[in-house]
Subunit: 241 residues, 2 copies
């Protein structure tokens, strides 16, 4: 059984972090990661709303970036509403739960700040968008309730014996993917690829989406790096002309 | 479609009543009934935590007994943990949702006070016990989260609420993929990538597998070709040295 990691990105209220811990433990999840919580960490407001789920809070890990928080995860889901232009697969909590159980490698579920939700750069880290189907006329879902619904779906399938896809190599950990993306950018930069300048951020996001989508294994990421390494020295020598 | 009525029996905190209203509206439920709320009704603490679900609070009905609150309902479910001596059918949220949708007559879902849950007399009014399966070692489920999970299950069966893959482009036609593979090989060949010679076929197969796996769309295949085009001229110029 693979338990997903819950990652709260820039959570605002300590009360909500505590309520998330409680909802997690209710449904058997224990690993909480916090990316830049607004009021620092530990936060004395979290304890009371955890209602006894102190273990989850005590073991929570603090990160300074979303990328760091998911560096060891093979499957990253961005929990958010569906927006136009989001060119990623969209899964329901039930579908995500099945995937988490049946695919090798760790999974991380990203949740954004209470007010604004995940931003584009956070979503860009994920291969899939996880959406809780809700009333289209009233879309503001409470953070801890979102976690509760998803953790509930995950725990529902615990009794079922699911076959696993043993022969399929898991996607490389996020840190290896980051290494590939950095490598590709490093090759493309001197080649004048990032042009015009006012499009640089959008181009970088597209590039990230392109390389995130495949879910390449470690061996495949290595092969991709080999391809760019093969091209790289010649680019350099050209530059030196 | 039959929407169940949510009945909060002797709720303690106004904040929780508001959070319940919000969870209800998130999943398309609107009818809230309150039995003897501890701090009276209306309760100014409810509004902020309802986060805009004011309509549910405004239309909430007040009752002086649980029996009165469910008098017009054909199916009453007591939401509670399973306890010894409970001689009633026990259903999961998914089973209850199916029953609510398929049986004629209104359904009411009873939720007890935050601290103690429903008492024996309240449970006695119900024909079935509705239990959310949770971690047996950590059984304290937040009131609004319980409502959220059950309302979510109910709304899941509503076809309209499902997300669609509007923005996800289909994989490019095979011919475009072949074009990309040929392009990449053309860039790699002069870079000395296909070495040693007796491994050429295996390397080509791996390269094809690598580029086939992503299921890139036409736009993504184009972007990938743009990347290799950016690098290509420099490789050529190096060759000409």
């Amino acid at each position: 059984m693979t338990r997903p990691v819950i990652v709260l990105v820039r959570p605002q209220l300590g009360e909500n972090i505590g309520a998330v811990a409680r909802a997690m433990l209710n449904f058997g999840l224990t690993e909480l990661r916090l990316v830049e919580p607004r009021d620092g960490w530990p936060n004395p407001a979290a304890g009371p709303s955890a209602s006894g789920a102190d273990r989850v809070l005590d073991e929570a890990q603090l990160y300074s970036s979303t990328a760091d928080a998911v560096a060891d995860c093979a499957h990253v889901y961005a929990t958010t509403m569906i927006r136009r232009g989001m060119a990623k697969p969209v899964v329901t909590p039930a579908e995500a739960s099945t995937e988490i159980r049946t695919r090798p490698g760790r999974s991380a579920l990203l949740f954004g700040p209470e007010r604004s939700g995940l931003d584009k750069d956070d979503i860009a880290l994920a291969r899939a968008v996880l959406t809780i189907p809700i009333n289209p006329d009233f879309g503001s879902l409470n953070l801890a309730q979102s976690v509760a619904v998803i953790a509930y779906e995950w725990s529902k399938q615990e009794a079922l014996a699911m076959p696993t896809l043993l022969d399929l190599a898991p996607p490389a950990p996020q840190a290896e993917l980051e290494g590939l993306i950095a490598h590709v950018e490093q090759v493309l930069e001197p080649a004048g690829y990032f042009f015009p300048e006012n499009r640089i951020n959008a181009t970088r996001r597209s590039l990230r989406a392109l390389l995130t989508k495949p879910g390449w294994s470690s061996a495949e990421v290595q092969m991709m790096r080999g391809i760019f390494s093969a091209v790289q020295p010649r680019v350099r020598s050209t530059q030196g002309e």
